[in-house]
Symmetry: C2
Amino acid sequence: MARPRSEEARRKALAAANDLIIERGVGNLTIEEVAARSGVAKTTIYRHWPERASLIIDTVRMTFEHVSTPDTGSLRGDLEAFFLGMVRADLSGKVGHIMPCLIDAASRDPEIEMLLDRISIERQQPILTMVERAQRRGELPPSLDTRVVIGTILGPIVFRKIVWRQPLDTSYVQSCLDVAITGLSALRPIPVVPVVPAVAAD
Amino acid sequence: MARPRSEEARRKALAAANDLIIERGVGNLTIEEVAARSGVAKTTIYRHWPERASLIIDTVRMTFEHVSTPDTGSLRGDLEAFFLGMVRADLSGKVGHIMPCLIDAASRDPEIEMLLDRISIERQQPILTMVERAQRRGELPPSLDTRVVIGTILGPIVFRKIVWRQPLDTSYVQSCLDVAITGLSALRPIPVVPVVPAVAAD
DNA sequence: GTGTTCCGCTACGTTAGCGTAGTGTTGAGT
DNA sequence: ACTCAACACTACGCTAACGTAGCGGAACAC
């Protein structure tokens, strides 16, 4: 036809919305202020996102993007790389700032709740992958409760950053990983060969 | 002199405020609605709490009250009683509903942040007491990093309920406690961390 | 009892943000 | 070159909530 939606307007509006969500929270995001800060006209924003919720969802989706899954050869190495790298940076940055008000909003808005559920599942996937690899290598018992795996590995990290709002220093992360790995290894009374280079026990 | 502040008005307003905080979140609490729902006149509410923040703080303080410290003779027994009893009821009730928006508000309001810090410390005390008793009994190594103790014990529980918004079923709690206790028992005592961290993480 | 102060009520002006309409300009498709 | 939609801008009426003021009545201290 005539003229496509301005990609620049979209980009600017999303960036402003991102900042404002961090500053004021998901619940207090106003189109008016997004317009003022981004330089994009209010009417244009309404044209791109007819409902406030859709702007929020696009913004949040943009923030939670990449997830990588390290593969170092050992569970401990994988988890350490994962948490001291991406997760720490993430939780100390935009993700860490948006997370609390997103959780809050989820308890009140089904649409955001679904979004958060999706994000949660996405974020737990790398851990499950690393754990499965460890199980194949014999580093962990073969049958573990997924909820417990996620809870004991991810729980102490996220808890400290999100709930307690404290920094994730290296020694904390390492100790928590020690506890989780040791505890999970011993979890089932199933006879488990200690972590020794598997010399083909057949 | 003449007439003391009505205790009933105060009580009614706080109850309504509590409900509304759960429904709408700390950030969206309006005096107008507290007045409408409680039956207490708006002017009266302003007389009792000149600033919105003080009403919020009083309300939250009222919600987070009692903390008991079980003493069953073993760390495992103590923790199980603690988490499957009070903590589970708490997190499934008002506390669990208020917590997320309180965390969110804390990132934006220093006064609420201080309140939440105080609450956090109060809530970690029972665990520290139970752990210290266990250390005296020889169930745990004598020198443990407090942050790690709290993180690995409380983290998986609070994480599941607050961040993942999933129920705290008994088997989950028990398995997480198994992991934490086993892991902490095997944790090698680490040299005391200096007060001022050399490498700041965050 | 008397007096003072609090309570509930109604009303007020003010503000922020909503979502929409209208106008002129600009820029990408054809 | 032409066209048509998207753009920025201004303005509008509407609503929710703000915080304050003034009123009569009621309760508690004395």
